[in-house]
């Protein structure tokens, strides 16, 4: 870190309020109870096996979490796949480069939690049944679920805990799952892709072709990743003194970027679940006033790095309208995994798919020294080839239809 942590009221809150509350009354470890439930034959655990090549890390309360790195089932995010396609593509591209095995397929639904948080038109049992259906699908393929979306990750951590705590919920979910020929299974750990990237940060950084020591990166940590079930989040004493989650910041440091702090690090992005659709002025004002403006004015940020779907969209898409009020920040926004893939040589258009991003990212690539003009021309040619009937390139062989 090139700047000391901001000494604002937040320091008091994080060190005195958050941790005091959790450490005085540490919540039960659901994984212990889960093993007891399995021993009683109530549930099956999806185990992390040697094939998954797990790496151990520490979470907020010093507990050990095992992060699988191989043989992973992509639990995709609808917001990423629909709107930021370079997000999942970068994950799979990095897995290819690292020689890791994975399965991406069509037998997956989203977690449905964005809609739930925004509109309330679901319920706990439906959310839990959807989660277990996806987990069970991963289980029957022999691949371990890797959750791409921050809201799915937060939601699945909650659902796992509630399933462990409430027999009546388990019974109801089991009854419904049996109707679709499935069983009640719960993964040994709920794992977010940013955790996967975090534990593999050294091999990923070893692929970096560029010096980014002059690139100022500011991190926006995703609320549903670290504020929902905060005790199940990776902390590392060498990152922010162990006071804030380590994923995303740690990979940026490993890549050699100049990661800078800013005073509204803790704030949300303004997504709001319903606000991005129905209270747009809140999303716009909050993302500009409380995030983008502060990142640029305080930290002179060259790029905002995210770790989730809604945040990437909100921070990126809401900047243009700010010009109406004289805000011309135009700060590039991308996920940690897109930034890492770019530095490892991924094509900015074909793989990282930056053309879908709204804030101008070209100046960032110029500053790093990544040529985007040639890939742009190649991409335009490639579109014409596809139009003429050429079969598309694929990161993995598609199934035979």
């Amino acid at each position: 870190m090139s700047t000391p942590l901001k000494t604002t009221g937040w320091d008091f809150v994080t060190t005195t309020v958050d941790k005091r509350a959790l450490q005085r009354q540490p919540p039960a470890d659901p994984r212990v109870e889960l093993r007891e439930l399995e021993a009683r034959g109530e549930v099956k655990i999806i185990p992390i096996t040697a094939d998954n090549r797990p790496i151990e890390v520490e979470t907020l309360l010093g507990r050990t979490k095992r992060i699988p790195t191989n043989k992973l089932w992509h639990h995709k995010s609808c917001g990423q796949c629909g709107n930021i396609p370079g997000y999942p593509t970068s994950i799979m591209w990095l897995m290819n480069r690292l020689g890791l095995e994975y399965l991406d397929e069509s037998h997956q639904t989203s977690c449905t939690a964005w809609n739930y948080h925004g509109s309330g038109t679901s319920n706990l049992v439906a959310l839990a049944a959807v989660a277990v259906r996806n987990w069970h699908r991963a289980y029957e393929t022999g691949y371990y679920p890797l959750i791409h979306c921050g809201t799915s990750f937060g939601n699945y951590k909650e659902i796992r805990n509630l399933l462990v705590e409430h027999r009546e919920l388990r019974d109801e979910v089991r009854r419904i799952l049996n109707k679709v020929g499935r069983e009640l299974v719960i993964p040994e750990e709920i794992v977010h892709y940013s955790e996967w990237l975090h534990v593999l940060r050294k091999p990923v950084a070893a692929m970096n072709r560029y010096d980014v020591s002059h690139i100022v990166a500011t991190v926006h940590p995703a609320c549903h990743v670290w504020k929902l079930i905060p005790e199940d989040v990776i902390y590392d004493r060498t990152i922010y003194g162990g006071e804030r989650p380590a994923p995303t910041t740690a990979i940026l440091l490993e890549l050699g970027a100049d990661v800078r702090d800013y005073s509204t690090w803790y704030d949300c992005c303004g997504f709001g679940f319903r606000h991005i659709l129905t209270e747009r002025e809140f999303s716009r004002s909050f993302s500009i006033e409380r995030k983008i403006k502060v990142m640029v004015d305080e930290a002179q940020s060259d790029v905002a790095i995210t770790q989730d779907t809604g945040c990437t969209t909100t921070l990126d898409k809401n900047q243009w309208i700010g010009q109406a009020h004289g805000y011309h920040y135009d700060l590039p926004v991308m996920a940690d995994v897109q930034f890492a893939a770019l530095l490892a040589g991924a094509d900015p258009y074909k793989v990282v798919q930056l053309q879908w991003h709204t804030a101008g990212w070209e100046k960032l690539l110029d500053k790093i020294g990544i040529d985007w003009r040639t890939p742009k021309a190649e991409y335009e040619r490639y579109l014409e080839e596809l139009r003429a009937g050429k079969a598309p390139d694929q990161l993995y062989p598609p199934p035979v239809e």
Binding site: V13, N115, G120, T121, A129, F282, F286, P398
Partner: protein, 237 residues
Amino acid sequence: MVDASETHLKLDPDAVGRQDADSLLRAIQSDIRYREVVHGCLNCGVCSGSCPSHRFFDYSPRVVVQTVLAGDAEAVKAMMDEYIWACAQCYTCAMRCPLHNSPGGLVMIMREVAVWRGMEAVHRLLKPYGRVLLKVLSIGNQLTPDMIQPDFFPDWGPKIPWSSTDLALKRKAIPVYTLQVTSSAWRVSPETSYELYTIYEETGVFRLIEQIDPNLFEVVSDMVEEVRELVEAGRDD
């Protein structure tokens, strides 16, 4: 305060319209999650001090928790109409509360009750949600590439028209097979949708939509029927 034996996992979709204040408060307090989201309240305001919506709206999570704890059913009912919908669901409050409350989680329970009882505000609030609901109910995706249109997002700037023209071609240029589609975020197999419909049926979600938005339900029903016929025909082969 309700006792533990009265807790419930989900609400009855056929209770839409039951909106007397006492029954709404009872439905909130008997949710199985209620005891995990409210453990008392110090009235300290740490939650509101961290709350993004408190900064921009006339809204305070401290007031939500205090009002529910005070048991003032009429005041709680009044909040469910508009007030609680300001919450951005970020859960900063939950991480900060010295009593381990989750005001955001309480708001979520209140939203669920407001919707499942068909409160007036819900019809107004859900209107802009029609497209998301249609997708989530029919294919379990919530956002799809064809939803990003300049008409809906004029404030997102001049690059949005690029994203929405020649969409099928640009999606085909994404080198991931499952993503080379436009009306869903990824290819969703009919078998998967089929299973999802059973979940929605068994949990009352379809029945709820039928009650609160019959037009949307009609459209969804047609899609459900089509997928079911397709999957069942495949099973017969």
